[in-house]
Structures are given as C-alpha cells and as structure tokens.
Amino acid sequence: MTTSLSALRHRSTNRRGRRLTVVIGVALAVGAVVTAFPFIWMLATSVKPQSESLTYPPTLLPHTPTLQYFRTLFTELDFGQYLANTIIVVLIGGVGLLLMAMAGYAFAKFDFRGKQWMFFLVLATMMIPVQVTMIPTYLILNGMKLTNTLVGIALPTLVSGFSIFLFRQFMSTIPTEVLEAARIDGAGEIRTFLLIVMPLAKPILAVMAVLTFITGWNSFLWPLVIANDQHLYTLSVGLSLLNKELAVNPSLQMAASTVMVVPILIVFIVFQRYVIQGFALSGLK
C-alpha cells in the first residue's frame, strides 16, 4: 500500500515537474530575449541605411538592409588593422595565463615563507581602482621603453589577482599524491608542473582562456593611453573614434559594435561547456 501511494505521489510529482519545467523554460526564454534585446537591436541597426536608423518612430527591422557599413569599416576606416591588433593583444594575454597558473600552483601546493602575506597582497590588488594606476603605470612602461608597442598595451592587465585566486582554488583540488609520486620518480619541479599539473588543469585553463580573451578583446583604456600610433589602436578605440557626437551615423557605429561582439559570442558558445566545467571543478562550491 505504501509502495503504490508513494508511486502515485511520484508519478503526479513527475507530471507537475514536467509542466513546471516547461513554464520555467518559457519564462527563461522571454528573459533571454529581453536580456539580449539590446544586442538584437544593435544587429538590426547595423544593416540599416543611415536615414532608416535615424527615423522616429524607430523601426526594429530594416526595410532595405545593406552591408555597406561593414564594408566601410574595413576599407575606409582601418578596422582590419584594429582587428589584427586586438588579436595580438589577446594572444599576448595567453602568456599571462601561464604565469598565473604557475603562481596559483605555487600558492596551492607549496608552503613557503611569506606565502600568507603575499597571497593577501594578490587579493589586495583586486581592490585597487584603475584610475589610480594609470599614470604610474604609464611611467613604468615609458621607462621600459614599451610605450607605443603592443606588448606595452597588453602588459598592465597581463596578470590579475582574480585569476590567480581562481587558479589557486583549482590547483588545491589536485591530489598531492600525484605530485609526490612524480617527485619520487625523480621528475623536476618544472617537469611536474608542465607534464602533470597543466594537463590536469585543462578545465580551469579553458575558463581563464575565455575570460582572458574577453578582457583582451574589449580592452580600451590601455590601448588608448599607450598607443601613440593609430596603427596600434584596438577595436574598442576604433569604435570610440566613431563617437563623433556631431555627425551621427548609428548604423556605422552599430556595425562596428557588432564586429566587436560577435566573435566573442561565437567563442563563448563553442566553449561554454568547458567554462562551466572549469568553474565547477575549481572547487567553487
């Protein structure tokens, strides 16, 4: 009797459960459209001719779509150069990944003098407002003769306290026996790190790679300040050059914005499983 009662309860809960799932799905879909609406509007405007994007009342869909503004970006406005620069800055950021993984590993798996306050320092850097750092950082880069170089642009944000913290979180979940076994077998520390720790760290590396990509791709402040040469501007700076404030061409601005957002979106969609997995395995529970 008890069995059939609980079975009944289970079955009706299941039906209720499925209905609820559908309701939630619909609600989330509506939320998704609302959340992504500015993006949709941006896409639609990027293919409208200028007169259409300035009309009032505003229209959502273009009547005579055109790709001319995308063409203008790359033929008249140097956006091809900006795109190349942005990609290079992102790649340089990849080096930072390695450095941060090393630091995270050391903080997680070693005991050494000064570890406590050095890690506290790492966390403290997360609290420093960026406006404070601008001029002193520029002076340092200038002293190192790195102004007006892509390396100089990528350097200030190469390493971040947030990322080192996450790396350390993840690395502390790697069983120490594995490392000890390698050491007993005679492997040097660097070999252990490269051949054992890094492969195990693939999930967190995936997360960090995506996040680094996003930050590097959207970087605006440093390219603007450090590049004296327009040929070193990145996409964000190029987009802000279009803020003429005077001759308004929303279609052109939206086309440039689209060029900025779409690649990241594609990267995220492809890697989203690994991103979530990476966060999950980093012990954030």
């Binding site: 200028q50 007169s51 300035l54 009032y56 008249e76 406005l77 140097d78 000064g114 406590q116 306050w117 601008m134 001029i135 002193p136 520029y138 002076l139 340092i140 200038n142 002293g143 102004t147 603007l224 300040v225 450090i226 004296n228 040469d229 327009q230 700076v237 802000s240 050059l241 279009l242 803020n243 003429k244 404030e245 005077l246 001759a247 308004v248 061409n249």
Partner: protein, 417 residues
C-alpha cells in the same frame, strides 16, 4: 609581517621614482640646427587620419619628408596630453583646440615660435584672421601656436516650420528669438522653440558679448559679475522658464532639428554637414544666419591651432609643415575635404569659397567673433562651473543669487593674460 612589508617597499619606491625621473627628464629640447631622421608625427583630432593624410600628400612629395598622422578621439585628448607630458615623448606637431591651448602651454608642451616663424612668410600673424592670429592666441605674450581651422556659431532655423507658425524670417535679435521660441513651442506637446545644449559653455559667453560686455575685465582677469552677464543669465534661464527649451540632457540636436522638434538652434558648420548627411531631403527647408544680436552680434571664434611639441626632434620639418598648412590653397583644400573653415585671410576672402551661401554666413560671422579667454583648462574649470551654475538655476530651480555668488567666487581673479 607589516614591518617586513614596509621594508620591502622602500627600494621599490626609490626604484620607481628613479624610473619616473629619468623618464621625465628625458625631455631636453632638441637642437634647431638639425632634424633627426624619420617621419614627422602629427596628432589630429577626430575619427580618422585618412583625410589629413590626403591633404599633406603634396607636402610629402615635394619635400620628401614623411608624415605619420595619428587620429585622437575628441574625448581622450586630456589623457593623451597628460601621458605625453609625463613621459616627455609626444608627437612633433599637434592640433590644439583653442580651449586647451593654455593647458598645453602651461605644461611646457609647446615650443615658443616667436623667433622661428620669421623665416616663413605664411606664418606671419597678419596672414591670419584678426580674431585668432598673432597676439589673440598668444600665451603670456609668447606665440606658441599658429591658427589652423576656425569654427563659429551661427543660427540654424527650419524656415518651413517658422513659416507655418507665421514667422517669415529667422530672428535677428535675442528678444525676437525668445518671442519666436514661445510661439513655436505652442505647436503642440513635445515640441519646442529653441535648443540650448547643456554642454555648451560658450553660449552664455556669446550672450554676454552680445549684451555689450565681456567676461574678462580691464585688468585681464576673469570677472562674471557684470550687467552684461546678468542679462545673459536672464536670457538663458528665461528661455527655460518659458518652457521653450527641452530639459533633458540627452537631446540629440541633429535628430531634433531634422524631425522638427526643435526648429531653431545655435551651432557650428559641423551641424550643417550632419544635417545634409542625415536628411538630404530637407534641402531648401532650413537656413543659417548670423547670431541674433542685442547690442552686438558677436559670436564665438573657435577652432584649433597647431603647435610643435617642445621635445620634437624634427623642428625644422615641423615648421615647414606648418608653413604648408597655412597656405591659402591648402586651407581651401582642407575645407573641401573635411569641412572645417580656414583661418587664413586670403582663403576666407576667396571668391569661389564664399560663393557657397552657407560659407558666406560663416565668414560674415567670423568677422565679428571673439575667442574665449585663454585660461588654463577652460572646459574643465570655469566652463564646467559656468554650466553647473546656469543649469542648476534653469533645471533644478536653485536660488539664483546664491548660486551665482558661489560661481563668481570660484572664478574671480583667474588671469587670462
């Protein structure tokens, strides 16, 4: 733990300051006798360097001197200047908005040109419009820049909308404008008569000039506490009080004019270009005219000059470039390419140039135009306080007497010499 921390800091700070010092002191002025090799670097304001590159092609070809043009976004010029000064390394030639001229000069960024321009007839002060040549844009009596492009403010009106409300020509006095604005506001809800940009710190100054006064007293100091300025404040806040002016800060003036929401406004030639681009179908339905007058019809002489950075290693080449850019033909060419008005007298009087009806109005206005006082940081300092005071009276109805008192105190005594 903390003590160890502090001990570790000291060498870092010393090293860092040493770095900074060497960086800063690297700016010794170059020997005028010989230029270094390599291209000239020119900073121009705007979204693209392509137009300027096109302009200097003849110069590059004839002199063999290569020119590297860098476009700087308008709202980033403060940052770029600061970092250039801090590091002691900047461009060779730089375009300087007139309101920023003093800041550049005070920072020691600009090479004094008094002795050097004698060798270049195109750079003589008499060649440029009176409002901006020679002493008009000198800092502390020294010439540190040469005029480049001019900007001014004129009245834009939608003649079709005015006609429909019974006004057959644009107003010629401020009183007329205020009355017309009231009429036009009555067209319906969400329609206005006139637009005051909340970021335009030159407009109240133009109004002051038009009431026969100035914001600089006889000693050369800033002084707003004058009858003329009071009249300007009354006009400015009065337009708001009449509800003839939109009160939101994000009003788009191009769209406002094109859609007819605001059929009158004061703006510069850039707006004319913008209207033509955004709404070519409006041709014939709008016009520009000189600024409304009270006692006078003085408008703004704005624009940019060109200067040479003190640390430039290409002084001779830079001077040659400045000379090229000050030729009448170059200036007229630039107007064709980029739409910015010339500052060279010969260009301004050129008959083909003034055959364009819009240009006729601009040049007429430039003949009765003044520059804003050359003080440090006009935009961020006095200009910001001016707008804050006026906007808080007009928009949030703060007490005029006390607001203006605070404003006078914050600006009195600033020297504009």
């Amino acid at each position: 733990m903390m003590r160890k921390f502090k001990k570790a800091i000291v060498p870092v700070v010393v090293a860092g300051l040493a770095f900074a010092l060497t960086a800063c002191s690297g700016g010794t002025s170059a020997d005028t006798a010989k230029d270094a090799s390599g291209p000239l670097t020119v900073w121009v304001m705007g979204d693209s360097s392509k137009n300027f590159e096109k302009l200097v092609e003849p110069f590059v070809k004839s002199s063999g001197q290569k020119v590297d043009v860098v476009a700087i976004p308008w709202d980033s010029i403060d940052q770029k200047l600061t970092t250039a000064v801090a590091s002691g390394s900047g461009p060779d030639v730089v375009q300087i908005g007139l309101t920023k001229l003093r800041s550049f000069a005070d920072a020691g960024a600009l090479l004094p040109l008094d002795g050097k321009i004698a060798a270049y007839p195109n750079l003589a002060a008499s060649k440029f419009a009176d409002g901006v040549g020679g002493k008009a844009t000198a800092v502390n009596g020294k010439i540190v820049s040469v005029p480049w492009v001019a900007d001014t403010r004129v009245l834009f009106t939608r003649t079709d909308i005015l006609a429909a409300s019974g006004i057959d020509s644009p107003p010629t006095t401020w009183d007329q404008l205020r009355a017309d604005a009231r009429t036009l506001t009555q067209r319906g809800p969400n329609k206005f008569g006139y637009y005051i940009p909340q970021w335009d710190n030159a407009l109240p100054v133009e109004m002051t000039w038009d009431f026969g006064g100035d914001i600089v007293n006889s000693k050369g100091d800033i002084d707003f506490n004058t009858t003329a300025f009071h009249n300007a404040v009354d006009l400015y806040t009065g337009l708001y009080a009449d509800k003839s002016v939109p009160t939101n800060a994000d009003f788009d003036q191009t769209q406002g004019f094109v859609s007819g929401t605001v059929p009158m406004l004061v703006s510069g030639p850039y707006l004319a270009a913008g209207i033509n681009a955004a709404a070519p179908q409006l041709a014939g339905k709008w016009t520009v005219s000189t600024l409304p007058a009270a006692d006078k019809g003085t408008s703004l002489f704005g624009g940019s000059n060109l200067g040479i950075f003190t640390t430039s290693k290409h002084q001779n080449g830079s001077l040659k470039l400045l000379d090229f850019l000050s030729k009448s033909s170059t200036q007229l060419n630039w107007y064709t390419i980029n739409g910015e008005l010339p500052t060279v007298k010969a260009a301004l009087n050129d008959s083909t140039f003034t055959s364009d009806p819009l240009v006729k109005v601009y040049t007429k206005q430039l003949a009765d135009a003044k520059v804003l006082p050359i003080i440090p940081n006009w935009d961020g300092g006095v200009g910001t306080n001016l707008l804050k005071a006026l906007n808080s009276i007009a928009l949030t109805h703060s007490d005029p007497k006390s607001t203006l008192e605070t404003f006078y105190q914050s600006t009195a005594g600033i020297s504009a010499k």
